[in-house]
Symmetry: C2
Subunit: 211 residues, 2 copies
DNA sequence: GTCTATAGGGGGATAGAC
DNA sequence: GTCTATCCCCCTATAGAC
């Protein structure tokens, strides 16, 4: 097998091919993307791909590992920092939206294919990363409650799911380079998450000012 | 082709087969589910399926249409009702979580396959339903702002996306019959959405009570 | 590093017997 | 309503030439 280890050289052909594959995987799904699709997009024939990679699986594997190593490194930095709980939570949200901005394909692949790929031994690390992600958010939320920054009656597990879902699913509609930048979205999202959208808790029918 | 119209009789074989197919489509994805998978699960051979349906596409088509007709009927009832804006918004959220409870497979299929299926002419109605859903939520949000129930500075478009995403993506982890019932989840979710998770807007580091 | 050629398997769908 | 048998296409991956 000629597939060599990624050797940090001049953004190699290997890297180019991975980027092309990632785009297709995110757009059409892993199974629904054929090696011929990838080869076509790269301007070569399908057989030639196997000079660079062992298999289609190897491609998605390398894409996901590279992305996750970077993302979880950022989470770790936040957790190890000495900011207050609310700030840490805000930073984690910001970092996540920034990841969607910089690596939309990778995020989409992880979102859409994790459950399918996770069934293979080779991709067992996906479940580990998932647990690690949960641990990060639960830590942030528990710290926030303990220090009084978040409501004491919070269902932390449920809140974690809502945050996780809302943040990552944004990859479905966020467009890098569009009108809304990732940091604006993060701020707006945090405003809703932290303070809600209502004018007051269980507001009365409102003193009929409009209509 | 023998595929007859659904004739409302005793939960027919046809209906059974659709339920089996829906379960597989939601679990493994549409493309990743073979007609042989469906036939196996039904205890028959793949060729026999074509006595009931024209094609695999026809199956997913019927599943989605049936579900969406029901769901949007409920949305319409809410919109046409005379409740106040906040109550309408709450009901729409409740109805959506109830739909996840009663039709988890259908919701999952719509969530995961809409973008793929939508590319075919036959499934053009998926895009229409999507636009209809957006119209429902935007109406609810705009009414809420106009009547003073929701913050005047709300980014309605962005809020719509967050609501939509968080509600439907719950199908990924919600388990009918589990500890958390759909109405409890809806209430908890509305608590976060309407009032936020923070103790106070931009709370100070908190009078260090714990640690 | 890419091409030609092809092996080997699985997919959707059909025709006709029972 | 189901089964047997099968067609034809597309998929991943390989072997060896250039």
């Amino acid at each position: 097998m000629s597939a060599a280890a990624p050797s940090s050289e001049p953004a190699s052909r290997r890297t180019e091919l991975l980027a092309i594959a990632a785009g297709l995987f995110s757009q059409k799904g892993f199974r629904n993307t054929t090696v011929r699709d990838i080869a076509d997009a790269a301007g070569i024939l399908s057989g030639s791909l196997y000079h660079h990679f062992d298999s289609k699986e190897s491609m998605v594997d390398e894409v996901l590992r590279t992305f996750q190593d970077e993302l979880f490194g950022q989470y770790d930095d936040i957790l190890l920092g000495d900011a207050d709980p609310r700030t840490k939570l805000e930073r984690a949200v910001e970092v996540s939206f920034a990841a969607i901005d910089r690596h939309p394909h990778e995020v989409a692949i992880f979102q859409n294919e994790a459950s399918y790929l996770g069934a293979f031994e080779r991709f067992g690390y996906l479940a580990e990363r998932n647990a690690q992600s949960r641990a990060v958010w639960l830590t942030l939320l528990h710290d926030g409650v303990r220090e009084g920054a978040l409501r004491a009656d919070l269902d932390v597990e449920l809140t974690y799911r809502f945050i996780r879902d809302t943040v990552w699913v944004a990859v479905g509609w966020y467009r890098p380079g569009g009108k809304l930048t990732h940091d604006v979205i993060a701020r707006q999202y945090l405003a809703i998450l932290l303070d809600g959208i209502a004018t007051s808790p269980a507001a009365p029918p409102a003193p009929t000012k409009g209509r």
